[in-house]
Assembly symmetry: C3
Homo-oligomer: 409 residues x 3
């Protein structure tokens, strides 16, 4: 009795996209363009054992939300261009990178007011597996200073975790490399670029190789303004059941770890082990200086209690020198979740971060790159192997545990 | 020279929907679903002497607003799923439940900023006959305390009348009972459900029997969180011309009535009688403890001056123990209107309401039901009969009139 | 591999719209109507050497933005009904009225939060050639007083430049005069009309005669409320490269000019000459009392350095008695731009403007008209001729230059 409206779809029909290597050029498909001329309600590209599809959600707060799903034959990665190129979830057989937030549906930014509830409006849309916090500011709400257009110092109430996760991508492309292994890339450009404000451009790329059990986030942030520009980015990566559960464990290469507040201090000796869903649990947040190997790489892994499922992430501490571990093993109804969050700093208000020297700046035209490699580990052997990699980074380097929170760290 | 875009419509064509009672199952039509997969620009269902249709408005602030009209042969009820299942108006021959607000058109929530104009942004979309206020907070703007995610007490600036009236329904169904009298139900689910916030679910149902001159709101509110949750709801039901007019009268079963402020105190002796449109009129608000009969039912009726048109509402004081009478007989251009508002409390800021013990709580998983039966009275006899019902509830019970406003009541 | 969705278009096909004068009635085409029933994704009207077309942008922050382009054979005027009938740009051969703001794309108001960044959210969508500021308030952010619905004095944080530029037009029509010279008019109605708030109606008309090198803005503002209503309007008209450049000059008929602050005071002796793009430049703002001729007309012109391109504007000081010159010759990346802004006042916060007697009021039902005639000057002769017109207004009247900013002017 109801009807679905849809655009006509042209399916590429390239069952064998690259017959030999005769096709030397990459495949590039524009789904959203800066000129606003592309309108593509649904779209699909089929390859040999993989596909990429775009759909648009309708109704309620989801009206108009665009999703791009990349299926590489092993996993489905669900990307939300409408929400700053966040990743809603990654599914692979019985594994799911993602969590069950109390937030229903995938909320269109038009329904988000970041200023709401005392600067906590961001929480009304928060249910992604991976959402970037930033770029002008990325941490807790509260008043910070800035220099306004008349050259005077003014104050501004920052809102939780910044704007980038609620800005739709201005440009979205699907690119398939012409060269083997024919990596499939979904690339979006998200601007946090205002008059008398920051002029930051995020080029966010999520990519995967057909048949692989790993995938990559490869972002660049560019300062398009004429003056030095502060920025912050947190890769707020969130895991819930079934990977997270009573007895699940975190592995990470750590130089130093400290509790964010007194509540976290209580649990610091067990920071690496997770409780089951717990009514009335108050979040515990740990601030980590990751340890890197000589190549600058560090890593973290979350394994289930049994040790036969895991998700790993590896990145460079030159790019993302800080890591926040957010334990929120609350009741399932309230959001049973842990965040593993590589970042340019910690989630304090920018004022505190600036004072601590953790707010980087980009010179005019300067670009900074951020690469995180994620791995899905679907059996004990694969989990062990990834843990081994992290342990090798740690080596015999002691973990410095600070038991009391710093005043403002 | 212009064009209307529209989906193809399948009309049910069930001129006789229930031939005998052979069709044992209810008819259920999904217009909006939680998975975001249903997209239905227009839709229509035709029965024997009734219909339900859905349309979508376009242009200006109305772009994308969905309306569902139920015509039971006697009245047309116009529901706005996009605005939290509010009812825009009810039309029946020369009667109209509704009012002429200065707000032009039916405003899409994407254009509403509740924080605007000092927390009064709600007023920029306010033109419905019936809009629910709530659910986390329902009253006046102002600072209130809450417990934040770190377990600390924080403050939050509440906005006027809360969020629920500007949240689109995540799910919308039209249901037709299989059993006589084949009640037609429009049911929507509206979530006010955030991470580190309330986890409230409103199931809002507006229903009517074919050929009847009454209809019903039947809502449930459920706490889907793991902790006790405060909530507030006001059924902000608003009447303008032609029912409201000089000499129009309010009938209600009242235990106690008090003025909300000094302005209202001036008019308390004439609280039940309405002036014509009056330039410079300042609103007068009266706070009523309704009187219930042994079954717990109370009622109110607004009649026109002549006494040959009226609208009544009956409800249980166990569900909605408080009633606010809002007299705003201002100039027509400014909104000539009265509100008759059964509620869980009064429209003070939640801080005041909490202190007065008027903010109910729901335990985890608990559901509370709210039913209001509305009647249209199109002749003197019908008006008299409904007044009689209210007078019977009042009986000889005296009305306690408080002439001075309480400090904060 | 992608698809464009579009409505079917009926092209009028009136290559000769007015054969003789036998067609006595104006042509009137409704593109958006108050009842929300018109849905017109694209639309086109073709005349003899001119056309009007409507398109709708898609993707990112531009999703759903409607543009109307009027091409009169000499210039293309691009109007944004979705953004309060602002004019994005006017193109004519190698001339462009417009500027390159750091704001990417034409931002849909649903993505604008005027309260953001301390009341500076307006800047996140600011990239138009001409945007109206107003109507309830038009200037700088900050706290102002107002009388609320209970008759009490309350305070409200005003946001930069008001709301009107981010309110979509509720009604849009294209009108072609039946009489020669067959002026083409795009007329939109934008309401800033709230319950317990202002009840202002802006009828905004942009019009042009086929083949002419001038065009006109002709607006009316009406108070639809029952009480006197303050209002403010600034025509924030902005010019960038190539018209603006090192050595570009401003010509204006001036009675008095004063710097807005100390920064502007430094440059007052060269207020009429522009620097090239300058890194770290801080805006300089000058407050002008324009000089009018006996008919009440004044004018301003911006010419390029060479003097062979210019844009002029003429208006009545009875309608718009104040003029703000905004010099922002910053780096190109940050927005190299100057604003020439006829207005009912200066861009101070309304509180200051009110104290200075520069906030006009409309009586109930009263309408105020605002007409600005713009000219494109594409050669030296045309530039000179327009400058001459301004010099004639100035005559021998001295320009009173105030070198120090007034406390609040």
């Amino acid at each position: 009795m109801y009807h679905l409206t849809f655009c006509l779809i042209v399916i590429s029909g390239l069952l064998s996209l690259f017959p030999g290597n005769s096709c030397a050029e990459e495949q590039r498909h524009v789904l959203t363009s800066l000129d606003g001329k592309v309108d593509c309600e649904t779209w699909e590209l089929n390859g040999d054992g993989w596909y990429v599809k775009k759909e648009t959600l309708h109704g309620g707060k989801q009206e108009g939300v665009e999703l791009i799903t990349v299926d590489n034959g092993v996993m489905q990665i669900v990307i939300i261009p409408t929400r700053g190129m966040s990743i809603y979830e990654v599914r692979s057989k019985d594994m799911r990178l993602g969590w069950n937030s109390p937030v229903e549906g995938i909320v269109h930014p038009a329904f988000i007011d970041l200023e709401s509830r005392g600067g906590l409006g961001w929480l009304e849309g928060f249910n992604e597996w991976m959402v970037r916090c930033g770029l002008e500011f990325a941490g807790h709400p509260g008043t910070d200073e800035f220099v306004n257009n008349t050259g005077d110092t003014a104050t501004m109430d920052l809102t939780l975790h910044g704007k980038i996760g609620n800005i739709p991508a201005s440009s979205v492309e699907v690119i398939v490399d012409s060269e083997p292994p024919h990596r499939i890339r979904v690339r979006g450009i998200v601007f946090e670029k205002f008059f008398y404000g920051p002029k930051l451009k995020l080029t966010a790329e999520i990519s995967v190789v057909p048949g692989a059990d790993t995938f990559r986030i490869d972002d660049t942030i560019t300062n398009l303004g004429s003056a030095d520009q502060e920025f912050q980015i947190i890769y707020h990566t969130n895991f819930g059941e079934p990977l997270l559960g009573k007895g699940a464990k975190l592995h990470a290469a750590i130089n130093k770890i400290a509790p964010m507040n007194e509540e976290a201090a209580k649990g610091i000796d067990n920071f690496a082990t997770y409780a089951g869903p717990t009514r009335g649990y108050i979040e515990q947040v740990y601030l980590v200086e990751p340890l890197a190997n000589p190549q600058g790489m560090t890593g973290a892994l979350l394994q289930n209690a049994k040790g036969d499922r895991g998700a790993s992430m590896f990145w460079s501490t030159k790019q993302l020198p800080y890591l926040t571990i957010w334990k929120n093993t609350a009741a399932v109804e309230d959001g049973y979740v842990t965040g593993i969050e590589p970042a340019t700093g910690y989630p304090y208000n920018r004022k505190i971060e600036r004072a601590a020297g953790r707010v980087p700046k980009l010179k005019p035209g300067e670009t900074r790159q951020f690469t995180i490699d994620y791995g899905l580990h679907a059996d004990q052997q694969s989990v062990k192997s990834a843990i081994k990699k992290i342990e090798t980074i740690q080596g015999k380097h002691p973990v410095e545990v600070q038991h009391k929170p710093s005043a403002t760290n």
